[in-house]
Amino acid sequence: MAKSLSARNIVKRYGGVVALSDGNLDVNAHEVVALVGANGSGKSTMSKVINGVVVLDGGQLLLDGTPVHFPSPQAAKNAGIATVFQELSLIPQMTVAENIWLTREPLNRLGQVDRKTVNARTGELLALFEGTYKTDLHPEAPIASLPPDERQIIEILKAISFDPWLIILDEATASLDSRQVQRLFELIAKWKEQGKAIVFVSHRMEEIFRIADKYSVLRNGRTVGAGNIKDIDEKQLVKLMIEKESVLGFLRGEAKSDEKVEKEISLEAENLTTESLKGVSFKAHKGELLGIGGLRGQGQRHLLHSLFGDLPYSGTVKLFNKEVHFKHPREAMKNGFALVPGDRAREGLLYIRSILDNLVLPSWRRYGLPLKVSNARKDATQTGSSLNLKMAGLEEPVSSLSGGNAQKVVIGKWLMREPQVLLLDDPTKGVDVGTKAEFYALLTRLSNEEGKTVLFYSSDDEELIGLCDRVLVMHDGKIRTELAGNTLTKENLIAASLGASNGGAQ
C-alpha cells in the first residue's frame, strides 16, 4: 500500500481555457486533506488529474516520491486511487451490484461473472450505510429506481469496493442528508485509522472543519495555501479562496427583521396534496423570504413544482386572496410566478445557446415579432450587471460560464419577467462561496426592497438560518414545524429535519 501522493505544479488546459496553472497537493496515509476553492478554481480538474480521467499538460505526480503517470482511470485505480465523482459515474440501467463491481467482477472458471459472490459482497458494502436508506435497497435494484442520495452512496461504495489507499471524495456530501453525512464521516474516521488517505472536496465549511486534518486551497487554478486545519479558521480559509474578505459572515442579522410589521399575505396554500405531499398548508407574506428546510426528498421539490403548475395537486392555493389552480407552468408564469429549478444543467439552461438567448427565453414575447434584439440586449445587459454576471459577452454560450455564474443566468432569466413570487429550488447547491454571498444579497434585496415573495428551499441549514425570517421544516411530505425568530436555531432545524418528536418549538 502506498503511503503518499504528491501533485507538483500541475498544469491542465481544456482547449484555450486553463483549468490548472500551478496545482499542488500533498496527501499522506492516515490523513484527510480538504481540497477547497471557489467554483471554477480547478478542484474537479485536480481530482481528475490524480485519478487519471484527464491527462495533465505539465507538472508531475509523485507516488511515494517516485514519478508516476496515469494515462487512464485504470492506471490510477491500479495504483490504489479511488474517486467518488461529483457527476455520477453510475449506469442507470444496471443494478447496484453490477455498477459497484463493473470491470472488477469476480469470475468463475468459465469466465462468467459469479453472481452469488457479487451479491454477497455488495450486501456487505450496503451494510456500511445500513439504516440510512429510504428505499428497500438491495444488490439487484436498478440504479434508475434509486433517489439521488442513495445513488451517491452507491457511488461511494463503488469507490471503496476495491480497497483503495487513497479516496477522493468530490462533493460527495452534496446530495446526502445529515444522517448519511454523519455515517460517511464515521467511515472516514475508520478508514483513516486503517491507513487510508482521503481527499475531501466540499463547499461546506462546517464539514471541512469537522473532518479534515489538512487543507489545500485552489484559486484560479493555482494552489494558494496549504497547511493544518488546526492553524486556520473559517474566515481565513474563505479569504484564501476569494481574495477579498467578508463573505461568509454575510447578512446575518440585518437580513432578519425582528420587529415584523404585519405584511399582506401574498401566497397561501391549504391542504396541498400530491402523491408525495400529505396536506401542506402555509402562508407567505409580501416581501418575505420564507425558507423551506428539512432533509432532502421530503417533498420540498414537489411543493415548489406543484405551486408552479408543474405537478397536479389537490387543495387550494390563493394568490393575494384569489384562488388559483395552475395546470401548466405557463399559467403560473402569467401570474407572476418564477421557478428557479434545482438541476440547472437539465432544467434551467440551454448550455450551447448564448447567454442572451437564455436570459430572453421566458420573456421573448415582450420583444415582439420579429424580435427586437437591441431592446432584449439592453434589458439583458442590465440584468447581467445587476447580478454581477461575469461573462465575456452576451453572445458567449452559457457553457463558457462557471457554475455560479450559470446559476445567475437562471435567476436572471426569471428576474427579467419581474415575478411576484419566486420559487427557488436549492439554488446554491454546488455554487462557490463568493457567488453564494451575492445570491444572499440578491435574495434579501428582492424580498426586503422589492417586496417579492420568495420561497427558498435549501439543503444548507446555515443558509436558511442566516437568511430567512421563517423556515418551514418539511418531513415526509408534511410541514413538520415552523421556525422563526428565537426558535430558528441550528439545533431546532436539525432536530425537526430528522423528525425528532421534540423538534423545534411551535
Partner: protein, 322 residues
C-alpha cells in the same frame, strides 16, 4: 412504488413484450395456416426466417452497445453477390465452403470499418452506417449488376431440407446462438456492453474500454450480417445485389419488438430473436390473408413507430407525477 416495480420488471424482462407479440402473431398465423406446425411447413418457414434472425442478433448487440447498424443489408448484398458469382451453380462444395469462409472475413472487415469510424473517429453511428450501407450495396452491384449467378443445388438443398431429429436446421442455429449469448452476457464483456450502451461516459470513468467495446459490436454485427448473407444465398440459391436492402429495416424492427431500447443498455438477444420470428410471421400472415404486399412495409413500420412511442406515452403519464 408502482413505477419502480414497473421499471424493475421492464429491466429484468425486456423480452416480455416480444413474447406476447410472438404468441399473438403465432395464433393468427395458425388460424390462417392450420398446418403450420407440420414438419415441412415449419421448416419452410424457419429457413426463411433464419437470415433475418441472424441479422437481428448482430443488430441487437450493436443497439445494446448504444449504436445502430444500417449497413447490415449492404453486407448481405456483398456476401450474396460474391458467393453467387465466384462459386457458381456448378461449383464444388469445397469451393463453396472456401467462399463461405471468405464471406465471414468480408463481414468482419465491413464491421471493422464501421467500428473504426464510430468508435475511434467518434462519428455518428446512424450517419456512418447509412453512408457505408451505400458503399457496401454499391460494391454488391459492382460485383453483380444484374440478378444471376448461383450456388450449387446440393448446398442449397442442404440448407433448405436439413431437419436433424425432425427439427428444422434453424432451430439448432438459434439454439447455438442463444447459448453463446447466454454465455457472453454473463461474462465481463457482457457487462461492458450494457455499461457502454447505458452511459458511455460513466463506463469510461469506471475504466471500461469503451472504444474497444463499441468497435467490437460492429464487428459482431458485420459477422452476423455475413452469416445472414450466407443463409439467404443458400435459401435463394442465386445472386441479387438488391437482396440485402430491405432486410435492414426488418432487423431493426426485430430488435425494437424484442424490447431493446434504441438508446442502448436495455434488452438482450433473446427478445430480438423472438422479434425476428414475429417479423417473419407477420410477413406470412400478410401473404396468407391475401393482402397486398405493400401492407407489409406499412405494418412493420407501424410496429416500429408504436414500439418507439409506447415508452414515450408511458413517460408522458409518469412525468405528471415526477
Amino acid at each position: 412504488m408502482n413505477q419502480s416495480r414497473w421499471d424493475a420488471l421492464a429491466a429484468r424482462q425486456p423480452a416480455l413484450f416480444a413474447l406476447v407479440l410472438l404468441v399473438l402473431s403465432l395464433v393468427i398465423n395458425v388460424i390462417l395456416q392450420p398446418n403450420m406446425f407440420a414438419r415441412e411447413t415449419l421448416n419452410s418457414n424457419m429457413r426463411v426466417f433464419l437470415p433475418i434472425i441472424l441479422m437481428a442478433v448482430g443488430q441487437a448487440v450493436v443497439i445494446l452497445g448504444g449504436g445502430i447498424d444500417i449497413s447490415v443489408g449492404g453486407i448481405v448484398s456483398i456476401v450474396n453477390t460474391v458467393l453467387a458469382t465466384r462459386v457458381g451453380l456448378d461449383g464444388s462444395p469445397e469451393k463453396m465452403w472456401g467462399f463461405v469462409f471468405l464471406s465471414l472475413l468480408i463481414g468482419l472487415l465491413a464491421g471493422a470499418i464501421n467500428g473504426f469510424f464510430i468508435a475511434f473517429l467518434r462519428l455518428q453511428p446512424i450517419i456512418t452506417t447509412y453512408a457505408t450501407s451505400f458503399l457496401y450495396a454499391g460494391l454488391g452491384l459492382f460485383i453483380l449488376p444484374n440478378p444471376g449467378g448461383g450456388i450449387p443445388g446440393s448446398i442449397a438443398a442442404l440448407y433448405r431440407n436439413s431437419t436433424p431429429f425432425s427439427l428444422p436446421l434453424a432451430f439448432y442455429v438459434i439454439a447455438i446462438i442463444l447459448l453463446i449469448w447466454l454465455y457472453i452476457s454473463s461474462t465481463r464483456y457482457g457487462k461492458f456492453l450494457y455499461a457502454v450502451g447505458g452511459k458511455a461516459e460513466a463506463a469510461y470513468e469506471t475504466a471500461v474500454p469503451v472504444n474497444m467495446v463499441r468497435f467490437s459490436t460492429y464487428v459482431i454485427s458485420g459477422l452476423m450480417a455475413a452469416l445472414s448473407g450466407i443463409a439467404i444465398t443458400m435459401l435463394s440459391g442465386s445472386g441479387n445485389a438488391d437482396i440485402g436492402g430491405p432486410m435492414t429495416l426488418n432487423s431493426i424492427t426485430a430488435v425494437v419488438i424484442g424490447g431493446n431500447a434504441l438508446s442502448g443498455g436495455v434488452g438482450g438477444v433473446v427478445g430480438p430473436v423472438m422479434g425476428a420470428i414475429t417479423v417473419g410471421i407477420i410477413q406470412n400472415i400478410i401473404s396468407f390473408a391475401d393482402i397486398d404486399t405493400w401492407w407489409e412495409t406499412f405494418v412493420k413500420a407501424t410496429i416500429i413507430v408504436v414500439a418507439l412511442a409506447t415508452p414515450g406515452i408511458v413517460n408522458l403519464f409518469r412525468r405528471r407525477r415526477i
